[in-house]
C-alpha cells in the first residue's frame, strides 16, 4: 500500500516537473509547479513529516509561487524572449545528473539518508514538530545559524536595492 502511494506521488512529481519546462504557456507551467508542490507535500506526509508538508505548502505554494505568477502576469513575456540558447549547459548538467543518479542506484547499498533510518532516528514519543525543533537547535545549530545569516544578508540586499534611487539623488 505504502509503495503504491509512493509511486503515485513520485510519478506525478516527475510528470508535472517535466511539464513545468515543457509547457509553452507560463501560467500553465506555474500551475503544474503548484501540483508538484502538493505532491511533494504528500510524500512528506507518507514519511510522517507533517510539519514539513505544511511548511512546504505555506512557503512554496503559498508565497513563492504566487510571486512567480505575479511576475508572469505583469511582464507578459514574449515568446522569443523566453527561449535562450542554453543547449550546451543543458546537456552538460543533464549528463552530470544522470551519471550521479546511475552511480547512486548501482552502488548496491541504498542512500545513507534512507527511509528506515530516518524513521528510527526520530523518537516516536515526541511529535514531529518538537523533533524538528530540538534537532534544529542542538545538533544542527551551526548550519541553522548560517542559513539565517544568509537570509539576513539577502534581506539587507533587497532593502539596499530599493533604496538605490534615493542614494543616487543625494549624491
Amino acid at each position: 500500500m505504502n509503495t503504491l502511494v509512493f509511486f503515485y506521488f513520485a510519478g506525478v512529481i516527475v510528470l508535472t516537473a517535466s511539464l513545468v519546462v515543457a509547457l509553452r504557456n507560463p501560467i500553465y507551467s506555474a500551475l503544474s509547479l503548484l501540483v508538484m508542490f502538493f505532491h511533494v507535500a504528500g510524500l512528506y506526509v507518507t514519511l510522517h513529516a507533517e510539519f514539513l508538508a505544511a511548511i512546504q505548502i505555506i512557503v512554496y505554494a503559498g508565497a513563492i509561487l504566487v510571486l512567480y505568477l505575479f511576475v508572469v502576469m505583469l511582464l507578459n513575456v514574449k515568446r522569443e524572449e523566453r527561449f535562450h540558447q542554453q543547449r550546451t549547459v543543458g546537456v552538460f548538467l543533464g549528463l552530470t545528473l544522470l551519471a550521479e543518479g546511475l552511480l547512486l542506484s548501482f552502488r548496491g547499498e541504498g542512500p545513507k539518508f534512507g527511509r528506515e533510518q530516518s524513521a528510527e532516528s526520530v523518537p516516536a514519543v515526541v511529535g514531529n514538530t518538537e523533533g524538528i525543533g530540538e534537532v534544529l537547535y542542538s545538533t544542527y545549530l551551526f548550519p541553522f545559524e548560517i542559513a539565517s545569516l544568509i537570509l539576513l544578508v539577502a534581506m539587507i540586499g533587497a532593502v539596499i536595492l530599493t533604496k538605490k534611487g534615493i542614494m543616487e539623488s543625494k549624491s
Binding site: 501560467i27 503548484l34 505548502i57 508565497a63 504566487v66 505575479f70 502576469m73
Partner: protein, 353 residues
C-alpha cells in the same frame, strides 16, 4: 476491512454535516449582513421576501442558480472555470481541523471516533494557514483568465495583499502557540479550559490581546473585507477580480468569501477565546451536557466575530493601496514580531503550571 468502512462512513457523515452547517451559515450571513447594515444605517434591510425578508437567501440562491453563465470572449476557458473552484475548496477544507465541541472519543462498532472534530492532526493551525494561502490562486487566476483590465488589476492587488497579510496572521499566532505548546487546535483549546482568565486573550504571563488585534486586522485583510476590500473596490475596479463572472461561478466566489469569514472567526475563537469553553466553568453545565453548552458557546463566539465583520463594514472607509501596504509592513509586522519576543521571554521566565 469492515472497520475501515465504518470509519469512512462516519467521517463522510461528519464532513457532510459540517459542510451543510457552514453553507447554511453562509445563507444566514447574507441576510444577516444586509439586515445589520440596514439597521446601522437606519434602514430596514430586505423586507419583501417572506416575513421581515427572512426568505431572501432562498430568493438570492434561486436567482444565482438560474442566471446565464457567461464566459467572456478571449477568456482562458479552463482557468476561468477552475478559478472559482480553487477559491472555494481551500475555504471549506479548513473546517476539518476546527474543534467545535469537547474532545470526546466515542467507540462505535469498535472504531474510535471523535464526534466534534473531523480530524485532530498535530499541525492543525499550520494546515489552516497552508490552505488559506492556496485561496489566493483562485483570485489571481480568476482575475487573469477573465481577459479584462479591471479583473487583472483586482487579482494583482489581491495577490500582493494576501502575501503581505498572511505573514502577519502567521506571526501573530506564534505567541498563542508558545503558550499552548502545541500546533493542534484541540490541544490549544484544552489549554484554555477553566474560565475566561485562562483564554489566551487574557492569560498570564502575557495576555495575547495585542496579538489578537493584529490577527483580526490581518484576517479582515485576508478575507478581502471592508476596509481592506481593494481587490474588489467597486468605485475603482467595477467589481475587481470577479467582474466578468456570473451565475454559479460568481456564487462560488461569494460562498468562498463568506466561508472564509466563518473560518477566520472559528480560528479566532479557538486561538484567543477558548474555543468551546464557557467564560465561567459553572456555565458549562454538568459533564453529560458539556457538548450542548460547548457548541452553544462556540457558536456565540463565532457569531460575535461575524458581527464584528459587519460592524467594520458599516463603519470604516476603504484604505488606499499605499496605506494598506505601509500599514501591513511597517505597523503590524513590527508589532507582531515584538509580541513574539516579549511573549517568549515572559513564557521562559514564568513557566506555566
Amino acid at each position: 476491512m469492515l472497520e475501515t468502512g465504518i470509519k469512512l462512513a462516519l467521517t463522510l457523515t461528519q464532513i457532510g454535516v459540517i459542510m451543510g452547517i457552514v453553507l447554511l451559515t453562509v445563507a444566514v450571513l447574507t441576510l444577516l449582513e444586509r439586515k445589520v447594515l440596514g439597521w446601522m444605517q437606519d434602514r430596514m434591510g430586505p423586507m419583501e421576501v417572506g416575513p421581515y425578508g427572512i426568505l431572501q437567501p432562498v430568493a438570492d440562491g434561486l436567482k444565482l442558480f438560474f442566471k446565464e453563465d457567461i464566459i467572456p470572449a478571449g477568456a482562458n476557458k479552463l482557468m476561468f472555470s477552475l478559478a472559482p473552484i480553487l477559491s472555494l475548496v481551500p475555504a471549506l477544507i479548513g473546517f476539518a481541523v476546527i474543534p467545535f465541541g469537547p474532545n470526546w472519543t466515542l467507540e462505535i462498532f469498535g472504531v474510535e471516533f471523535k464526534p466534534f472534530v473531523i480530524s485532530d492532526i498535530n499541525i492543525g493551525i499550520l494546515y489552516i494557514l497552508a490552505f488559506a494561502s492556496i485561496g489566493a490562486y483562485g483570485i489571481i487566476l480568476g482575475g487573469w483568465s477573465s481577459n479584462s483590465k479591471y479583473s487583472l488589476l483586482g487579482g494583482l492587488r489581491s495577490a500582493a495583499q494576501l502575501i503581505s497579510y498572511e505573514l502577519n496572521v502567521g506571526l501573530s499566532i506564534v505567541g498563542v502557540l508558545l503558550l499552548a505548546g502545541s500546533l493542534s487546535m484541540v490541544q490549544i483549546t484544552e489549554a484554555q479550559a477553566g474560565g475566561f482568565w485562562n483564554w489566551f486573550f487574557f492569560t498570564l504571563p502575557f495576555p495575547q490581546a495585542i496579538a489578537f488585534v493584529v490577527f483580526i486586522i490581518s484576517a479582515v485583510a485576508e478575507t478581502n473585507r471592508v476596509p481592506f476590500d481593494l481587490p474588489e473596490a467597486e468605485s475603482e475596479l467595477v467589481a475587481g477580480f470577479f467582474t466578468e463572472y456570473s451565475g454559479m461561478r460568481f456564487a462560488f466566489f461569494f460562498l468562498a468569501e463568506y466561508a472564509n469569514m466563518i473560518l477566520v472567526s472559528c480560528v479566532a475563537t479557538v486561538l484567543f477565546f477558548g474555543g468551546w469553553h464557557a467564560p465561567f466553568s459553572f456555565l458549562q453545565g454538568p459533564e453529560s451536557l458539556t457538548w450542548v453548552t460547548g457548541i452553544f458557546w462556540f457558536t456565540v463566539k463565532v457569531y460575535f466575530f461575524l458581527f464584528l465583520f459587519f460592524w467594520l463594514r458599516a463603519t470604516l472607509p476603504r484604505l488606499r493601496y499605499d496605506q494598506l501596504m505601509r500599514f501591513g509592513w511597517k505597523v503590524l509586522l513590527p508589532i507582531a514580531l515584538g509580541n513574539i519576543v516579549v511573549t517568549s521571554t515572559l513564557a521562559y521566565l514564568f513557566p506555566g503550571p
